[in-house]
Amino acid sequence: MYEDHTLVSQVLEGDAEAFTLIVRRHETPVYNLALRMLGNPAEAEDASQEAFLRAYSKLRRYDKTYSFRTWLLSITSNHCIDRLRKRRIKWLSLDEPLSTEDSLKMASSSAGPELVYENSQRERMVQDLLDTLTPEYRAVVILHYWYGMPYDEIARSLHTTVSAIKSRLYRARRMMAEAAKEETVNHVEMVGGV
């Protein structure tokens, strides 16, 4: 199995097929980041494709002293932030996009129906909580929880400082915890009303 740096060197020497190996290696983290950020599988796939193509076009600028995965996720998260800013007005739309819940159902078709239901409920809740955050806060939460990135790597990825990242994460947790509490209260009231 080739290392990322070896594959990058091969691509830079003109071997475009080596880039398909890079895609194969990183498609799941890139896609999941886009999915968490955007909350829509179709859009996440488009964003992932765009992120990979941007990485390909900027490959000469990649600094090999840093992790390639971090660099790639940085491109992806910044691209998703741009997308979210552009479509901010669409958030008010009543159209319900295909949710991550549906994506998970498709992915876990081999699991039992109860597990699928449980997973889909959890997925939906997580995505609803992420949706309460601004794009910048959302990116920090995702990179921290799903990718286990240390603060300095997140800061480098999002072109900001470590203290800013901590501040965003702390505020995001508070916002999400409050949103979760409200959702629980609403759920209890709804069940009680029936």
Binding site: A16, T28, Y31, L35, S48, R60, R122, L169, A177, K181
Partner: protein
């Protein structure tokens, strides 16, 4: 005690950054403050929820879409290499070889006479003298068909054009061999 400071400690605790002393401070505060205890509980639940959510596999179509785009835009390496090699070889034969031959012949003439070694002016003079000998040789092998068409000035001009041609071929070779990048908008 400051609730905001406790909130920071809660976050540090979730991230595993809490010192022993800070841990005691937080524990004691939570035992006394109901509001913070509720907040701590909700933060822990949130942390558990986020930490236990798994990654979903990427759709197979993603890999195909990216590969098609990249391969489609990549340079046609074999054709580019062949074209560049042929161009560079031809230019080198026409441009670099006569230039090297002129200098080489001049050096040979100079070093053949030990007393003249180190005399730069004389060497250049010899070099200019041998120019006509070289072109005569080129005429003899048929590269230049008619001697009368080539004057001294034309010989110098031809040498300059040859060197420029070789440099141009080198640049073309470099340009064709460089890895092609994709221009993406946005």
């Amino acid at each position: 005690m400051n609730h905001e400071r406790m909130y920071v400690l809660m976050n540090r605790a979730l991230d595993g950054e809490l010192s022993v002393e800070e841990g005691y401070q937080l524990k004691n505060h939570l035992a006394e403050c109901q509001e913070c205890a509720v907040q701590w509980e909700s933060l822990q639940s949130l942390d558990a929820l986020l930490s236990n959510t798994e990654l979903v596999p990427a759709p197979l179509s993603l890999r195909r879409r990216v590969s098609v785009q990249v391969l489609h835009r990549a340079p046609k390496r074999s054709f580019a290499k062949l074209l560049a090699t042929l161009t560079a070889s031809a230019a080198a034969a026409l441009g670099v070889t006569p230039a090297v031959a002129v200098v080489g012949y001049g050096l040979w003439i100079t070093f053949r006479s030990p007393t003249e070694i180190g005399d730069l002016v004389l060497w250049i003079k010899k070099l200019l003298e041998t120019r006509s000998i070289l072109f005569q040789a080129l005429i003899d092998v048929g590269v230049i068909s008619t001697k009368s068409l080539i004057t001294d000035h034309q010989q110098i001009l031809l040498a300059i054009i040859s060197i420029c041609g070789a440099l141009g071929a080198g640049l073309l070779f470099w340009w064709l061999q460089r890895p092609r990048t994709i221009l993406v908008q946005g």
